[in-house]
Amino acid sequence: MLTVNQTKNALLDGASIEEEPYTSPQDSDEFFESLDKPAKEPTKLEPRNTFIRAGVLTTVRGSAYMEYGNTKVLAIVAPPKELLRASARRMNMGVLNCYVNFAAFASGDLDSVTERERHLSGMLTKAMEPVVCRTEFLNFQLDIRVLILDDDGCLLSTAINCCGVALVECGISTYDLVTASTACIYRDHVFLNPSAKIEELARKHRRGSNAVQEHGLIITASMDTFEQIALCKQYGYLSIVTYIKLLDYTLAVNKSLRQLVRGVLTKRVKEQHELDLREKAESALEDQRLEEIIEKLKKQGPEEFIQSNIREDPYVKRQ
């Protein structure tokens, strides 16, 4: 059978395109051996290199683009629209729908894409529900759409971060800023912000020896003003001590991410303010020009005004 190995693409900034993370049972072991493992206790609780920009699209009210290492995500929030069919259970709260889609080029493994999309959509909805003030738009529904351009681990947490920014950009009232991060443990090594391959390893633990070894993955979304956890999803097999340890790591990463998000948003507001000022200045100029014209009109009368404004077309030669 012909198997296509992953290809490194210089254009993609070293990101890899792959069909499946592993092709044979030994791969995962070999990969783990080849990895330079972090210390057992991570010392730096920091997010990856991050790029966030709010308001990247002009077609929708709220949009945000985020790069978290090689993971690239675009989030779109449209203003709430009226529910088509209201049911009794939705009486006291607005409805939130999240849709996650992979770009056609984001993943090589096309078979599992729909299932992953559905899974991620469900989780994202769960994470965003506590964040949005849903009591403010009764009988309305808010649609959040996420497009995944590239997947290199921490997918859900990046999507949550991006959605948080897009919500603010759209002007939807939220209780707090939401930030999320991922941590996992495999063979006693703690990985913060794991890549897709490590995530897979920690979650599945396929080559399980008989000895009990904790393995697992935690995704936490938090709102730090009142230290509330909006989403905490765990995979794998963990004791409660390890669970709390990982939870605390992710919360610490969330805190530093929050500073970043806040910085981005304030910058965006300032930028918008400047734009508004410029627009105002421009419209003032325009008003002034119009006023001058009206003045002229009043003085000269329409006939003369028109005559005075007719200029010769420089491209048409005189006969």
């Binding site: 092709t23 049972p25 559905r118 396929r206 509330q228 995979y235 794998g236 709390i244 919360l251």
Partner: protein
């Protein structure tokens, strides 16, 4: 979850009850409602169980099939969950109404059973890399009276305990092809170890307090709940997949308390379930026909 209409006064009543550790039906915050469990009642399935937890009624059937293992995990078998929300449970489930809920239940179960430490997939292996058992765990929700996660996981575990896999012998043919011979005797079978099979415990936050086994009314009053998946291994309780549901948020310390409560309750529940299953098996007995003489 199924929708129950409650007035503001009723909610306050439930809330105050929870505060005083004396709930509407007389339970404390750490008590479960009475449970009826019966195994092996569907003759067409390899294993089955029916659980009635007060008003919640669940029927689980386990079907078996021979499949090819995943190339990445040659010595692992497969599990597949399916949840069907019957329209008899609540009128809301009519048509596609129950699909969201069913999807959530399937995902939580899949997540809880995903780790090979939680469910020993090796017991489902026939010939490594070639043949394995695939178990279809079909869950039917007959009535919906709150706390579906717990009820479903309990019933699934009981059904797995009841599952009988026919004994299979393999004969080697030419060119490395193996032929499987399934035993004709329906009593010649192997069982699945359920020691580490996880249970889901929903810890529900009502007001400022956490409680287990919420009734449908209490679920309406709660802001957020944690679904804790508890797997017992060597007498120690492990978490094999937990998540928050219910559209609320909670503090880290509350979360910790909820997890601890969930683990303690899960441990207790697991012990009781195993005890009761063994008791039932002893009482009903393995209905093996007595073989007399050398004729089988």
């Amino acid at each position: 979850m199924a929708y129950v209409a409650l007035s503001e006064a009723e909610k306050t009543y439930i809330l105050h009850g929870v505060e005083d550790d004396f709930r509407c039906d007389g339970r404390s915050r750490r008590d479960y409602r009475p449970m009826d469990l019966e195994t092996g009642l569907v003759s067409n399935a390899s294993g089955s169980a029916r659980l009635r937890l007060a008003n919640t009624d669940i029927l689980v059937g386990v079907k078996t099939e021979i499949d090819v293992p995943n190339p990445l995990t040659p010595e692992f078998g497969k599990l597949e969950f399916f949840v069907d929300c019957s329209a008899n449970a609540t009128p809301e489930f009519e048509g596609r109404g129950g699909s969201d809920l069913a999807q959530e239940l399937i995902l939580s179960l899949q997540n809880a059973y995903e780790s090979p430490l939680a469910f020993d997939y090796r017991t489902l292996c026939l010939i490594p890399g070639q043949q394995c058992w695939k178990l279809y765990i079909d869950i039917l929700i007959l009535e919906c009276g709150g706390n579906l996660h717990d009820a479903v996981s309990l019933a699934a575990k009981a059904a797995l305990f009841n599952t009988k896999l026919p004994r299979v012998t393999a004969t080697m043919l030419d060119a490395g092809i193996t032929d499987l011979i399934i035993s004709d005797n329906p009593y010649d079978c192997t069982r699945i170890s359920i020691e580490t099979v996880p249970l889901l415990v929903t810890v529900c936050k009502v007001g400022d307090y956490c409680l287990v086994d919420p009734s449908a009314e209490e679920e309406v009053c709660s802001t957020v709940s944690v679904v804790v998946s508890v797997s017992m291994r060597d007498g120690q309780a492990f978490l094999s997949g937990t998540h928050l549901t219910g559209g609320g948020a909670m503090h880290r310390d509350t979360m910790r308390n909820c997890l601890e409560l969930g683990l303690a309750i899960g441990e207790h529940l697991d012990r009781l379930l195993t005890k009761m299953l063994n008791l039932e098996q002893e009482r009903v007995g393995p209905k093996r026909p007595q073989t007399i003489g050398f004729l089988k």
